[in-house]
Symmetry: C2
Subunit: 335 residues, 2 copies
Amino acid sequence: MAGIFKNKDAGFYVDGILAGDMSILSRAITLVESQNPLHQKLSQKIIDGVIGHTGSSFRLGITGVPGVGKSTFIETFGKEVISQGHKLAVLAIDPSSSKSKGSILGDKTRMEGLSTLNNVYIRPSPSGGTLGGVTRATHETILLCEAAGYNFIIVETVGVGQSEITVSKITDFFLLLMLAGAGDELQGIKRGIMEMADALIITKADGVNVERAKAARAEYAHAMHLLQAPESGWNARAQVCSSVDNTGIKEVYTMLTEYKQFVINTGYFIHKRNSQQYEMLITNLDEQLKQTFYSSPMVKKRLEEIKNNSSGIPIHPFSVIQALLSEFFKSQGRY
Amino acid sequence: MAGIFKNKDAGFYVDGILAGDMSILSRAITLVESQNPLHQKLSQKIIDGVIGHTGSSFRLGITGVPGVGKSTFIETFGKEVISQGHKLAVLAIDPSSSKSKGSILGDKTRMEGLSTLNNVYIRPSPSGGTLGGVTRATHETILLCEAAGYNFIIVETVGVGQSEITVSKITDFFLLLMLAGAGDELQGIKRGIMEMADALIITKADGVNVERAKAARAEYAHAMHLLQAPESGWNARAQVCSSVDNTGIKEVYTMLTEYKQFVINTGYFIHKRNSQQYEMLITNLDEQLKQTFYSSPMVKKRLEEIKNNSSGIPIHPFSVIQALLSEFFKSQGRY
């Protein structure tokens, strides 16, 4: 962190976020995404500082293969969300960018209309790190956005297997976008992903495509009927929409409202949120336990010795592990 | 562990394994696969006891989608391996069986000819547990088999994404079986998997299929030429074979011999083995660190309280984590 943000403490960020300052929010998210231990410590204090102001948004996960029209859907649907009086944040999970260091939202031409509106905050995917790390960062980013007053959060993911599972772990509702007639295989949609979806929306239902989209909707509605019902008790739906004609968009919003009411009534909403919060705690606990261990100079030194062992004497891995853990715990007790 | 094996100590297993006793070997592998902490402790002592007698086998990973003919290939190829004077062990990794509790090698009709031969040990996939756990167990099973005198180990995996990465982590050579003309898409083969392969074998090159298989071989040879070269410096090859006609099988064995000589000469063989051994140590270290932490009665009690928190007071996750870690470390220092 450079410039005017240098040496600011957690209180500075907490105050700025609670005041809805987008620039301070962005900087705090950068801290959350950082792998620098000092940044991580600071971001943890910030999250603890705002946690009482989180949890108030509707968290929508959206997935679908490239070409399905995710950006244009979010652009059109986002405007509907804004028109309903919400403050909207759009975040992205893209584990493939972890490798290429690119970002699916980095392209400035995407969501151009939406990004210029008031009450909209768009945040590209964090680059670098493992999928687990990206998930953790996105979950924490949701909390920061909520504290800054964003009460509708869209988490976008690209369709690459594992990331759908993680997005469903940190959102309230999982929306799967599909094309009519492209075939399940081509769209990389596996049964498991359809089973996770709370709704399936056929996009590009416009022009000559309308009838095909409707036919596909009926087919998918039937297929989803055969699948295992989601844990929530909600009956997954299939709908059509056109981002270009702006048809079916309001209906998606209405469906989400119905869903929220349904799961609030059944108690599933708060149950799922609590589980997610607990899971985040365990993930962070695991991470910090490991960090405490592996950052110990004694552990580092011993592991370096083991790695460079070229004595020809075979290492007895489990004796080594026991000795290392016991030495570490003894050294911790001293403080 | 019931019956005559009850209350046997590590020394009993170590002696039995080193004497090549298949029944004791099987029981030791069951301990390695067990999630019971007592079994795990015992299995760790067994591994430490035999570790000086491990590392002497050639470890071959084989993958390919269902229908490619993995079983018949392993049956035919396994006989070639035996005829070259080896003792052969065939293990399986099947993460999908973690869910269904089934096992791809559970079917008794598979590899019938091979399983009746002397010097062959066939072990079905461990059921239950995470992919990480299955990988760890398979790696440790390799060590036990080596200690029992098996000097050629085949690790079979089904083609489901993540498991290929793990099999390539615990073997010396990664063999990808493919069908001619079935198309990459249908075979679920992604570029990443082809990049990991040290060789690609077109199966079922017999009867009317011979020409098609040869054409596919040429195509794949070209495609692999364009891919990134493996870290080993070995140029990945494409060959054809027929398990039914027993053609191309000896050639696979010859190729493996050439590979082994190549990587021994370059030093890559021992380098990869050392990395694998170190990675296994770290995996186990992570696991035992977590186990020590989460099995602490204090930690269990505090986590239960957090999970059941319905006070309405928001939990400050990172303060909770800091407090929990610090309390835990203090309690450890006391012993």
